[in-house]
Protein backbone atom coordinates (compact mmCIF):
# COMPACT_ATOMS: atom_id res chain seq x y z
CA UNK A 1 0.00 0.00 0.00
CA UNK A 2 2.82 2.30 0.96
CA UNK A 3 4.73 1.57 -2.24
CA UNK A 4 1.58 2.41 -4.18
CA UNK A 5 1.17 5.72 -2.42
CA UNK A 6 4.79 6.57 -3.13
CA UNK A 7 4.23 5.68 -6.80
CA UNK A 8 1.13 7.91 -6.96
CA UNK A 9 2.98 10.79 -5.31
CA UNK A 10 5.85 10.40 -7.74
CA UNK A 11 3.39 10.26 -10.66
CA UNK A 12 1.61 13.43 -9.56
CA UNK A 13 4.90 15.28 -9.08
CA UNK A 14 6.08 14.07 -12.47
CA UNK A 15 2.83 15.28 -14.09
CA UNK A 16 3.23 18.71 -12.46
CA UNK A 17 6.82 18.90 -13.62
CA UNK A 18 5.86 17.96 -17.19
CA UNK A 19 3.03 20.52 -17.11
CA UNK A 20 5.43 23.18 -15.92
CA UNK A 21 7.92 22.35 -18.67
CA UNK A 22 5.17 22.44 -21.32
CA UNK A 23 3.94 25.81 -20.10
CA UNK A 24 7.30 27.47 -19.65
CA UNK A 25 9.71 25.86 -22.11
CA UNK A 26 7.60 24.75 -25.08
CA UNK A 27 5.82 28.09 -25.47
CA UNK A 28 2.54 26.30 -26.20
CA UNK A 29 0.56 29.55 -26.26
CA UNK A 30 2.52 31.32 -28.96
CA UNK A 31 0.67 31.61 -32.27
CA UNK A 32 1.43 29.52 -35.32
CA UNK A 33 4.35 30.69 -37.43
CA UNK A 34 3.38 32.07 -40.84
CA UNK A 35 4.23 30.00 -43.91
CA UNK A 36 6.82 31.88 -45.98
CA UNK A 37 6.72 31.73 -49.79
CA UNK A 38 10.13 32.82 -51.09
CA UNK A 39 10.43 35.17 -54.05
CA UNK A 40 12.63 37.79 -55.69
CA UNK A 41 12.31 41.27 -57.18
CA UNK A 42 10.49 41.21 -60.54
CA UNK A 43 8.94 37.79 -60.05
CA UNK A 44 5.39 37.03 -58.95
CA UNK A 45 5.05 35.21 -55.63
CA UNK A 46 1.86 33.14 -55.62
CA UNK A 47 0.07 32.92 -52.27
CA UNK A 48 -3.07 30.90 -51.60
CA UNK A 49 -5.11 34.12 -51.61
CA UNK A 50 -3.19 36.43 -53.94
CA UNK A 51 -0.14 37.31 -56.02
CA UNK A 52 2.60 39.65 -54.83
CA UNK A 53 5.30 41.20 -56.99
CA UNK A 54 7.98 43.64 -55.87
CA UNK A 55 8.67 45.74 -58.95
CA UNK A 56 11.19 48.24 -57.58
CA UNK A 57 13.45 48.76 -54.55
CA UNK A 58 15.51 51.86 -53.92
CA UNK A 59 17.08 53.84 -51.09
CA UNK A 60 16.33 57.41 -50.10
CA UNK A 61 17.57 59.89 -47.55
CA UNK A 62 14.31 61.85 -47.57
CA UNK A 63 10.69 61.12 -48.42
CA UNK A 64 8.81 64.32 -49.26
CA UNK A 65 5.11 64.90 -48.76
CA UNK A 66 2.88 65.21 -51.83
CA UNK A 67 1.64 68.43 -50.24
CA UNK A 68 4.33 70.87 -51.32
CA UNK A 69 4.34 73.02 -48.17
CA UNK A 70 5.01 70.18 -45.71
CA UNK A 71 8.46 69.26 -44.48
CA UNK A 72 10.19 66.18 -45.85
CA UNK A 73 10.92 63.25 -43.52
CA UNK A 74 14.57 62.29 -43.06
CA UNK A 75 15.48 58.71 -42.31
CA UNK A 76 17.28 57.91 -39.06
CA UNK A 77 19.14 55.26 -41.07
CA UNK A 78 18.23 54.81 -44.76
CA UNK A 79 14.73 54.78 -46.21
CA UNK A 80 14.07 51.65 -48.28
CA UNK A 81 11.20 52.23 -50.73
CA UNK A 82 9.53 49.01 -51.87
CA UNK A 83 7.10 49.27 -54.81
CA UNK A 84 4.65 46.37 -54.93
CA UNK A 85 1.84 45.04 -57.10
CA UNK A 86 -0.72 42.84 -55.37
CA UNK A 87 -3.65 40.95 -56.88
CA UNK A 88 -6.20 39.07 -54.82
CA UNK A 89 -7.07 35.75 -56.46
CA UNK A 90 -10.01 34.30 -54.45
CA UNK A 91 -11.88 37.21 -52.89
CA UNK A 92 -11.23 40.93 -52.25
CA UNK A 93 -8.27 40.97 -49.87
CA UNK A 94 -6.50 43.47 -47.64
CA UNK A 95 -2.76 42.97 -47.25
CA UNK A 96 -2.36 44.44 -43.79
CA UNK A 97 1.05 43.17 -42.70
CA UNK A 98 4.09 44.68 -44.49
CA UNK A 99 7.53 44.25 -42.92
CA UNK A 100 11.18 44.05 -43.79
CA UNK A 101 13.26 41.30 -42.21
CA UNK A 102 17.05 41.37 -42.15
CA UNK A 103 19.48 38.47 -42.36
CA UNK A 104 19.52 38.25 -38.56
CA UNK A 105 15.74 37.84 -38.42
CA UNK A 106 15.04 41.33 -37.06
CA UNK A 107 11.72 42.76 -38.22
CA UNK A 108 11.29 46.37 -39.39
CA UNK A 109 8.00 48.28 -39.58
CA UNK A 110 6.86 50.86 -42.10
CA UNK A 111 7.71 54.45 -41.22
CA UNK A 112 4.55 56.34 -40.29
CA UNK A 113 6.13 59.77 -40.70
CA UNK A 114 7.31 59.00 -44.24
CA UNK A 115 3.64 59.02 -45.28
CA UNK A 116 3.80 55.98 -47.59
CA UNK A 117 1.40 53.02 -47.68
CA UNK A 118 0.68 51.11 -44.48
CA UNK A 119 -1.47 48.46 -46.17
CA UNK A 120 -3.03 47.75 -49.57
CA UNK A 121 -6.34 46.26 -50.70
CA UNK A 122 -7.04 44.51 -54.00
CA UNK A 123 -10.27 43.41 -55.62
CA UNK A 124 -10.31 39.88 -57.01
CA UNK A 125 -8.21 39.81 -60.17
CA UNK A 126 -7.79 43.60 -60.09
CA UNK A 127 -4.18 44.62 -59.38
CA UNK A 128 -3.46 47.27 -56.75
CA UNK A 129 -0.17 49.15 -56.47
CA UNK A 130 1.58 50.39 -53.34
CA UNK A 131 4.85 51.86 -52.07
CA UNK A 132 6.02 50.91 -48.57
CA UNK A 133 8.76 52.97 -46.89
CA UNK A 134 10.98 51.59 -44.14
CA UNK A 135 13.62 53.36 -42.05
CA UNK A 136 16.38 50.79 -41.50
CA UNK A 137 19.96 50.90 -40.21
CA UNK A 138 22.42 51.02 -43.16
CA UNK A 139 24.48 48.08 -41.86
CA UNK A 140 21.41 45.80 -41.95
CA UNK A 141 20.64 46.38 -45.65
CA UNK A 142 22.41 43.43 -47.27
CA UNK A 143 20.14 40.39 -47.52
CA UNK A 144 17.03 42.37 -46.52
CA UNK A 145 13.70 40.68 -47.35
CA UNK A 146 10.23 42.19 -47.82
CA UNK A 147 7.35 40.30 -46.24
CA UNK A 148 3.70 40.87 -47.09
CA UNK A 149 0.66 38.97 -45.88
CA UNK A 150 -2.97 39.48 -44.94
CA UNK A 151 -2.29 39.81 -41.24
CA UNK A 152 -5.18 40.00 -38.86
CA UNK A 153 -6.68 43.16 -37.40
CA UNK A 154 -8.47 41.31 -34.63
CA UNK A 155 -5.51 39.45 -33.21
CA UNK A 156 -2.63 41.45 -34.76
CA UNK A 157 -0.72 38.28 -35.55
CA UNK A 158 0.31 36.46 -38.69
CA UNK A 159 -0.81 33.12 -37.22
CA UNK A 160 -0.37 30.47 -39.89
CA UNK A 161 -0.84 33.00 -42.70
CA UNK A 162 0.75 32.46 -46.10
CA UNK A 163 3.37 35.18 -46.46
CA UNK A 164 5.32 36.50 -49.45
CA UNK A 165 8.99 36.52 -48.44
CA UNK A 166 10.76 38.50 -51.15
CA UNK A 167 14.56 38.75 -51.25
CA UNK A 168 15.21 42.37 -52.24
CA UNK A 169 18.54 41.45 -53.83
CA UNK A 170 20.54 43.99 -51.82
CA UNK A 171 24.19 42.88 -51.65
CA UNK A 172 27.22 44.21 -49.78
CA UNK A 173 28.12 46.69 -52.56
CA UNK A 174 24.57 48.07 -52.59
CA UNK A 175 24.74 48.39 -48.84
CA UNK A 176 27.90 50.47 -49.08
CA UNK A 177 26.47 52.83 -51.72
CA UNK A 178 22.94 53.04 -50.31
CA UNK A 179 24.52 54.13 -47.03
CA UNK A 180 25.52 57.44 -48.66
CA UNK A 181 22.32 58.04 -50.64
CA UNK A 182 21.00 61.59 -50.86
CA UNK A 183 17.96 60.67 -52.97
CA UNK A 184 14.61 62.34 -52.27
CA UNK A 185 11.30 60.92 -53.53
CA UNK A 186 7.71 62.02 -53.22
CA UNK A 187 5.73 59.83 -50.82
CA UNK A 188 3.33 57.42 -52.51
CA UNK A 189 0.66 55.29 -50.85
CA UNK A 190 -1.62 53.06 -52.91
CA UNK A 191 -3.02 53.40 -56.39
CA UNK A 192 -5.08 51.49 -58.94
CA UNK A 193 -2.45 52.40 -61.54
CA UNK A 194 1.26 51.50 -61.56
CA UNK A 195 3.37 53.90 -59.49
CA UNK A 196 6.53 55.58 -60.76
CA UNK A 197 8.53 57.14 -57.93
CA UNK A 198 9.22 60.80 -58.57
CA UNK A 199 12.60 62.20 -57.54
CA UNK A 200 12.48 65.78 -56.29
CA UNK A 201 14.82 68.39 -54.86
CA UNK A 202 14.12 69.99 -51.53
CA UNK A 203 13.81 73.70 -50.89
CA UNK A 204 15.67 74.94 -47.87
CA UNK A 205 13.39 76.14 -45.07
CA UNK A 206 14.75 78.96 -42.94
CA UNK A 207 15.19 77.60 -39.43
Amino acid sequence: MRARRATSTAAILAALAVGNVINTRLDANSPLEPVAEPGGVGEVTHLTYGDVEVTDVRPAEYVASQLGDELASKAGGVYVLVTVTVTATREPTSFLAAYLEDSEGRQYRTSAKAGCAINVRSGTGVPAYAVFCFDVPPDALAGMRFQLSRGNLTFSTLAGDHLADVDLGIDGDDEASWHRTDAVYLAETTSREPIELEAVTLDEVAP
Partner: protein
Amino acid sequence: MRGRVPGRVRGLVARRSPTQRLGAVAALVVVLSAPFGGWRSAADQEVVPLALDQRLDLGPFHLTIDSVKQVTALPPVLEADPDARYLVIRTTVTNHTDRAESVTLAEAAFSGDHTGFLAWPDEEAQLRVYGVDDAVRLPSGEFVNPGITLHLAFVLRQQPDTDLAALTLGVRGYHFQEVDPQTLDPDRWVLDETPIAEGHLPVEVDA
Protein backbone atom coordinates in the same frame (compact mmCIF):
# COMPACT_ATOMS: atom_id res chain seq x y z
CA MET B 1 11.43 1.44 11.97
CA ARG B 2 9.67 2.77 8.88
CA GLY B 3 6.68 3.88 10.89
CA ARG B 4 8.81 5.99 13.17
CA VAL B 5 9.72 8.83 10.83
CA PRO B 6 6.22 10.26 10.22
CA GLY B 7 5.53 9.80 13.87
CA ARG B 8 8.59 11.87 14.74
CA VAL B 9 7.61 14.55 12.24
CA ARG B 10 4.12 14.67 13.71
CA GLY B 11 5.58 15.06 17.16
CA LEU B 12 7.92 17.78 15.98
CA VAL B 13 5.03 19.69 14.39
CA ALA B 14 2.83 19.23 17.46
CA ARG B 15 5.48 20.82 19.69
CA ARG B 16 5.74 24.01 17.55
CA SER B 17 3.77 27.14 18.41
CA PRO B 18 1.18 28.40 15.86
CA THR B 19 3.54 31.25 14.91
CA GLN B 20 6.34 28.82 14.20
CA ARG B 21 4.01 26.63 12.15
CA LEU B 22 2.87 29.63 10.14
CA GLY B 23 6.49 30.59 9.55
CA ALA B 24 7.30 27.10 8.38
CA VAL B 25 4.37 27.14 5.94
CA ALA B 26 5.47 30.53 4.64
CA ALA B 27 9.03 29.24 4.16
CA LEU B 28 7.66 26.23 2.29
CA VAL B 29 5.58 28.48 0.02
CA VAL B 30 8.66 30.55 -0.76
CA VAL B 31 10.64 27.39 -1.58
CA LEU B 32 7.85 26.06 -3.78
CA SER B 33 7.46 29.40 -5.60
CA ALA B 34 10.92 28.99 -7.13
CA PRO B 35 9.81 27.44 -10.43
CA PHE B 36 7.24 30.22 -10.90
CA GLY B 37 9.69 33.08 -10.56
CA GLY B 38 9.44 33.62 -6.80
CA TRP B 39 13.20 33.66 -6.44
CA ARG B 40 13.88 36.15 -9.18
CA SER B 41 15.68 39.11 -7.72
CA ALA B 42 13.62 42.22 -7.13
CA ALA B 43 14.68 45.38 -8.92
CA ASP B 44 17.01 47.23 -6.62
CA GLN B 45 18.14 50.04 -8.88
CA GLU B 46 19.03 53.33 -7.35
CA VAL B 47 17.73 56.62 -8.68
CA VAL B 48 20.70 58.55 -10.03
CA PRO B 49 20.82 62.33 -10.51
CA LEU B 50 19.74 63.27 -14.03
CA ALA B 51 22.44 64.85 -16.17
CA LEU B 52 23.01 65.97 -19.73
CA ASP B 53 24.87 63.55 -22.05
CA GLN B 54 24.11 60.66 -19.71
CA ARG B 55 23.00 57.53 -21.57
CA LEU B 56 20.02 55.92 -19.84
CA ASP B 57 18.78 52.43 -20.69
CA LEU B 58 14.98 52.53 -20.66
CA GLY B 59 14.70 48.91 -21.72
CA PRO B 60 13.47 49.43 -25.29
CA PHE B 61 15.70 52.44 -25.91
CA HIS B 62 18.95 54.10 -24.96
CA LEU B 63 18.02 57.71 -24.28
CA THR B 64 20.45 60.60 -23.84
CA ILE B 65 19.30 64.12 -23.05
CA ASP B 66 21.49 66.40 -25.19
CA SER B 67 20.07 69.76 -24.12
CA VAL B 68 17.11 71.45 -22.48
CA LYS B 69 16.06 74.86 -23.79
CA GLN B 70 13.19 77.20 -23.19
CA VAL B 71 12.18 79.04 -26.35
CA THR B 72 9.43 81.43 -27.34
CA ALA B 73 9.05 79.89 -30.78
CA LEU B 74 10.40 76.87 -32.62
CA PRO B 75 10.43 77.69 -36.32
CA PRO B 76 9.32 76.32 -38.67
CA VAL B 77 7.00 74.17 -36.56
CA LEU B 78 5.88 76.30 -33.58
CA GLU B 79 5.03 79.96 -33.72
CA ALA B 80 5.47 82.33 -30.79
CA ASP B 81 2.56 82.36 -28.36
CA PRO B 82 2.40 85.22 -25.80
CA ASP B 83 0.69 82.92 -23.29
CA ALA B 84 3.26 80.14 -23.40
CA ARG B 85 6.89 79.12 -23.67
CA TYR B 86 8.18 75.88 -25.11
CA LEU B 87 10.51 73.62 -23.15
CA VAL B 88 12.48 71.68 -25.75
CA ILE B 89 14.20 68.52 -24.50
CA ARG B 90 16.58 67.38 -27.20
CA THR B 91 17.48 63.73 -27.02
CA THR B 92 19.25 60.94 -28.83
CA VAL B 93 17.14 57.78 -28.86
CA THR B 94 18.43 54.40 -30.03
CA ASN B 95 16.38 51.23 -30.27
CA HIS B 96 18.89 48.65 -29.04
CA THR B 97 16.41 45.76 -29.06
CA ASP B 98 15.72 43.35 -31.92
CA ARG B 99 12.20 44.52 -32.70
CA ALA B 100 10.47 47.80 -33.59
CA GLU B 101 9.40 49.78 -30.53
CA SER B 102 6.79 52.53 -30.24
CA VAL B 103 7.98 56.12 -29.83
CA THR B 104 5.24 56.42 -27.21
CA LEU B 105 7.50 54.43 -24.89
CA ALA B 106 10.13 57.18 -24.98
CA GLU B 107 7.51 59.88 -24.55
CA ALA B 108 5.87 58.16 -21.56
CA ALA B 109 9.24 57.72 -19.84
CA PHE B 110 9.41 61.44 -19.00
CA SER B 111 8.07 62.89 -15.80
CA GLY B 112 8.59 66.27 -14.18
CA ASP B 113 7.92 68.59 -11.25
CA HIS B 114 7.35 72.34 -11.28
CA THR B 115 7.22 72.22 -15.06
CA GLY B 116 4.54 74.91 -15.41
CA PHE B 117 2.79 72.53 -17.81
CA LEU B 118 0.15 73.95 -20.12
CA ALA B 119 -2.06 71.66 -22.21
CA TRP B 120 -1.59 71.74 -25.96
CA PRO B 121 -4.68 73.02 -27.74
CA ASP B 122 -6.97 70.14 -28.72
CA GLU B 123 -4.74 67.31 -27.64
CA GLU B 124 -4.25 65.10 -24.65
CA ALA B 125 -0.56 64.26 -24.91
CA GLN B 126 1.63 66.48 -22.73
CA LEU B 127 4.66 66.22 -24.98
CA ARG B 128 4.85 66.72 -28.70
CA VAL B 129 7.60 64.79 -30.42
CA TYR B 130 9.56 66.20 -33.37
CA GLY B 131 12.48 64.90 -35.37
CA VAL B 132 15.42 67.26 -34.76
CA ASP B 133 16.96 66.53 -38.18
CA ASP B 134 13.82 67.16 -40.25
CA ALA B 135 11.46 69.11 -37.93
CA VAL B 136 8.74 66.60 -38.78
CA ARG B 137 6.28 65.85 -36.00
CA LEU B 138 6.17 62.14 -35.27
CA PRO B 139 2.72 60.57 -35.69
CA SER B 140 1.51 58.88 -32.52
CA GLY B 141 1.68 55.48 -34.23
CA GLU B 142 5.36 55.84 -35.10
CA PHE B 143 7.81 53.05 -34.33
CA VAL B 144 11.58 53.16 -34.08
CA ASN B 145 13.08 50.20 -35.93
CA PRO B 146 15.81 48.08 -34.33
CA GLY B 147 19.26 49.64 -34.61
CA ILE B 148 17.87 53.06 -35.58
CA THR B 149 19.03 56.19 -33.79
CA LEU B 150 16.81 59.27 -33.93
CA HIS B 151 17.39 62.74 -32.63
CA LEU B 152 14.08 63.64 -31.07
CA ALA B 153 12.84 66.83 -29.47
CA PHE B 154 10.20 66.37 -26.78
CA VAL B 155 8.38 69.68 -26.47
CA LEU B 156 6.42 70.75 -23.41
CA ARG B 157 4.19 73.82 -23.45
CA GLN B 158 4.69 75.77 -20.23
CA GLN B 159 3.67 78.94 -18.43
CA PRO B 160 5.91 81.91 -19.28
CA ASP B 161 6.68 82.57 -15.59
CA THR B 162 7.77 79.02 -14.80
CA ASP B 163 10.62 78.96 -12.28
CA LEU B 164 13.23 77.10 -14.33
CA ALA B 165 15.54 76.78 -11.32
CA ALA B 166 12.91 74.71 -9.51
CA LEU B 167 12.06 72.55 -12.52
CA THR B 168 13.04 68.89 -12.23
CA LEU B 169 12.74 66.11 -14.76
CA GLY B 170 12.67 62.37 -14.32
CA VAL B 171 13.17 59.49 -16.74
CA ARG B 172 11.61 56.12 -16.01
CA GLY B 173 12.52 52.77 -17.48
CA TYR B 174 10.56 49.67 -18.40
CA HIS B 175 10.66 46.00 -17.56
CA PHE B 176 9.82 43.40 -20.14
CA GLN B 177 6.76 41.29 -19.43
CA GLU B 178 6.71 38.08 -21.46
CA VAL B 179 3.41 36.79 -20.12
CA ASP B 180 0.64 38.90 -18.66
CA PRO B 181 -2.12 36.66 -17.30
CA GLN B 182 -4.38 39.68 -16.85
CA THR B 183 -4.36 41.16 -20.34
CA LEU B 184 -3.05 38.12 -22.27
CA ASP B 185 -0.92 40.71 -24.07
CA PRO B 186 2.49 39.08 -24.23
CA ASP B 187 5.96 40.53 -24.68
CA ARG B 188 5.28 44.09 -23.73
CA TRP B 189 7.15 46.81 -21.88
CA VAL B 190 5.72 47.83 -18.53
CA LEU B 191 6.64 51.25 -17.13
CA ASP B 192 8.55 51.15 -13.82
CA GLU B 193 7.23 53.08 -10.84
CA THR B 194 10.51 54.67 -9.86
CA PRO B 195 12.63 56.72 -12.22
CA ILE B 196 16.09 55.66 -13.38
CA ALA B 197 17.32 59.22 -13.10
CA GLU B 198 15.77 62.35 -11.68
CA GLY B 199 16.78 65.90 -10.91
CA HIS B 200 17.32 69.44 -12.10
CA LEU B 201 18.92 70.12 -15.46
CA PRO B 202 20.33 73.46 -16.58
CA VAL B 203 17.81 75.11 -18.90
CA GLU B 204 19.17 77.42 -21.59
CA VAL B 205 16.80 80.29 -22.26
CA ASP B 206 16.47 81.71 -25.78
CA ALA B 207 14.78 85.03 -25.46
